[in-house]
Symmetry: C2
Subunit: 341 residues, 2 copies
Amino acid sequence: MITIKELARKLNLSTTTVSNVIHGKTHEVSAATIERVEKALVEYDYVPNINARNLAQNKSKIIGLAMKPRADKSSNIFIDPFISEIVGGIEKTVREAGYFMMIYASDEMNDILKQVSTWNVDGLLLFGLLGEDGAALRRKYKKPVVCIDIYNMVCDPPVYTVGLEDEAGTYEAVKYLTDLGHRKIAFMSDDIIGVDRERFRGYKKALADAGIEYEDRNFLKLNPWKDEVEKSLTSICETVRDFTAVFCTSDLYAVQLIDKLIDCGIRIPEDISVIGFDDNPMSKYHRPGVTTVHQDMEKKGIVAAETLIRLLKGLAVEKSVNQLPTRLVIRDSVKDLRKTQ
Amino acid sequence: MITIKELARKLNLSTTTVSNVIHGKTHEVSAATIERVEKALVEYDYVPNINARNLAQNKSKIIGLAMKPRADKSSNIFIDPFISEIVGGIEKTVREAGYFMMIYASDEMNDILKQVSTWNVDGLLLFGLLGEDGAALRRKYKKPVVCIDIYNMVCDPPVYTVGLEDEAGTYEAVKYLTDLGHRKIAFMSDDIIGVDRERFRGYKKALADAGIEYEDRNFLKLNPWKDEVEKSLTSICETVRDFTAVFCTSDLYAVQLIDKLIDCGIRIPEDISVIGFDDNPMSKYHRPGVTTVHQDMEKKGIVAAETLIRLLKGLAVEKSVNQLPTRLVIRDSVKDLRKTQ
DNA sequence: TTGTACGCGTTATCAA
DNA sequence: TTGATAACGCGTACAA
């Protein structure tokens, strides 16, 4: 752990010169000196002390990633490979850009902001939180912020958002059902907030465009808390025969629903069709394979991190709301009703 | 972003006094002063600057988590919810102990060590790497290190290890097969290094104890690279009828194998039995449900982080190698051969 | 081309 | 009970 000062003394140079060589400001240093310094740098294995550097420059090269903690919802929110995919994408991008990542798992904007200002974080990534606290955020943090899957965060200066074409993706999936002759289509979700609100909108639009009227009983609510899932599914099973198809807001839910229906003696897709969302591996390896709306989670992380880094560098960012496309992946959980007529 | 210095000036006090109040060294401060300072602290919303603090104290309160990066193996290594589970456990424990976590996704011990010394990381968590570089590690890093799922790291001062009873868990699973009358049992894995070596040992032991001789052809090698998986599975299918059961070193592999076998017209478990490892959600929601060896991944993360924090606090740690227990979870992918005889 | 001196925010030592 | 001052390691005006 040698310091610039010690190095300078050993070489009979000033700290300025050593520092200049380290930072490549070589146009003011003689070739001979550069050589000497660089050799010493390697020989003594110099590593800069980030704390000192940050203190001197009043920045940190840290990007904070704040997200909902595990305990908040049922434990199975982390079951989804979602998190690792997205975190992986962010980490990779951040690292390659020469930044560092610090993770805060908290739902409390105040907690997050405290950490963030303690560490003097250069930019902030917000993921999966509810976006009401824009004002509170901006009162204490003026640096760039990029939100992932948060649409209702209004504040000044504005935050940037990376998300999905949730509405269009859902529309496509539900239209696929109506095109195949389905008219009694349920929407299953744990709530209608955040991204689920967008998806719900796409669902209703597809129904409307097919001339189908939406009824309140079409909404199948799944209680996501660990011990409640089973109960919810059981009660859903009782009414599910009223429908020919169910759209689920996640593959995790779709898979659990399918298993439950099979256990109840209902065949998929012969008796009821099911569509999921995410295209996570579970839907692929499940039997029957789950027809679903594909999204690229890793890319979402990458794009969000790239956006933030552009902002940090002062580069222009075209869209303040960037919605990534989705794609319908057809597997074996949907029946073509027209064939049987 | 008010500083101690500014605060002191506003209150007509010295920085020392303010600092003392902040740190609760109140036995040397008058009650009146304490009150004044504490009020100002809240009023001006004082937040300490970690960089300055770390610089002054020569520590960081940072725990580094280094792990294999995504790109290194096939992309589907991250498909496993493994990572988020373990990272979630670590994050939670670290945060509750008042530390911070910094993630490095790198396979290069040198990269890791550079980051670690730059940030003056107080302690290091190593996960899923190959453990040959103990010496290189210790040449540059003397502070506490805890390894997760790394058994072959020998160095001085020693590292601590948190892992699994891989051998015993596998033994139990394979013994379960032999008890049910299986005698031709394959072992499917992508390699026999790291934890898989332990599992392979357990497998062979169970065979031996049942009086079954191990043959080289029992080892079914799956190439984990993205585009090779399919090919591997296809070639495995050609020889798999020689066996009545296959033990897979992960549920991910087990599920893929089962799907492939079904596609080839082989029934599970009627024609061939399959056992996995991990008990990840995929195995639970798959149909047929996959019999598997359960491990608590979150706990692994928690225990590792707790161990490191104990070391940082100078507390005693009983075992330098801590192997968490496993448990066989019986589902529907194994056939009882005795019934048919 | 190289060096001096100061500031970044905090903690720690020692004196008053 | 409080305060002055020096360190921590680095970057950078400004001076030489």
